[in-house]
Amino acid sequence: MARPGRAEPDAFPIRLDGGAALRVAAAFVAALAVWFAFATPYEKTLAAAAQVAIRAFERPAATRLDAVGGEIRVDRSDFPPDSARPGLPAADLHFNFALLAALFALPPHPLRQANFGRFWLAAVLLWAVHVLALVFQVESVYATRLGPWSAEHYGAVARNFWAAGFHFYQILGRFAAPFVLWWGVGRVGQKPAGK
């Protein structure tokens, strides 16, 4: 058994050298290119999934989300027809995909089937994180930014829950998520580095 405050030999299987740095940089650039190319269709999947999740708990189901021009447009069937629709910046939600791809490039052979499979699993989990973050973002808009309507439909606890949840994602969660997914999914099965 390990003594308290001591790492065990298998605790850290990653070796960081020049090759790893190059792989990380290359994967980061490649992932950014993919991200730029597919951001709009990706945002449509996020909007559709978050809409289903929000409407599942709404009575009546009134929310409609659309990905338009780098924004998630929030609409509700009970909004006055001539009122402005909130637009939420979408890139902030999901640019952390590039971080995830960069971390999965750390092993010496990142394109091996096992590593690639784990990367896709982590990417799917990251998509779920993005959907959840979008749900929190929309609910925090409902809870805090719609004046009397917010006050009427959300109590103090609900306001703080949704607003703090999304704020946590903005400040720390979006950067921590790729690291947590890589640590939890990507390092499995890697052999210890070093002698």
């Binding site: 850290f12 070796r15 980061f28 950014l32 946590f168």
Partner: protein
């Protein structure tokens, strides 16, 4: 491969320790968030710290010939102005790094040393980010949005994660050396 206990699947112990690290990491992140998101801490610590970053960045920009002035957390020249806000001051990356280092099993003295050196390195990287973003804003304003939101945020966080991985790898190797030396001493002791 090794097994912790008889009958335990090989690697299960490592997976358990890995999961324990993640639990500690996330718990620390939530605790750090609760601290820095509170208004008193933000007003008494984060805002003055961010003003300090603005002053140092402005000094560097002036050395580079940009002729800037500082007001609070805002850096201004005749051609461009930028306000350094939460998320641009390197604090979030330092918190991620700090949570990871504190969650990693290592002697406290070495954790604190890692925390100190890593935080300094992150702030140096963040200064490069602020200065370069200002220069991008002056010379290539159309690229400022993408550089600010996506590129530099990702780069600073990635550097923070890599710094942690570097520290953790060195720490693990150092502990392995100590364990081997202790084991050698034990073996050579007369019975």
């Amino acid at each position: 491969m090794k097994s912790d206990k008889a009958g335990t699947k090989p690697g299960a112990g490592a997976n358990r320790r890995s999961a324990a690290f993640l639990v500690r990491f996330v718990a620390l992140l939530v605790a750090f968030y609760a601290i820095v998101a509170s208004h008193p801490v933000n007003d008494a610590v984060i805002v003055p710290f961010t003003s300090g970053i603005a002053r140092v960045s402005a000094a560097i920009l002036n050395v580079l010939g940009e002729k800037v002035t500082v007001q609070g957390t805002e850096i201004r020249s005749s051609r461009f102005a930028v306000a350094i806000e939460n998320g641009c001051n390197g604090v979030e990356t330092a918190l991620l790094f700090g949570a990871a280092v504190l969650a990693f099993p290592a002697p406290w003295k070495r954790r604190l040393l890692g925390l100190l050196l890593g935080s300094v390195a992150i702030q140096v990287i963040n200064l490069v980010r602020v200065v370069s973003l200002f220069l991008v804003g002056v010379h290539w304003p159309a690229m400022f949005g993408t550089s600010h939101t996506i590129l530099w945020q990702s780069i600073v966080v990635l550097c923070g994660v890599l710094l942690f991985l570097l520290w953790a790898a060195r720490e693990t190797r150092a502990q392995q050396r100590v364990a081997v030396e202790e084991s050698d001493r034990g073996a050579s002791r007369p019975r």
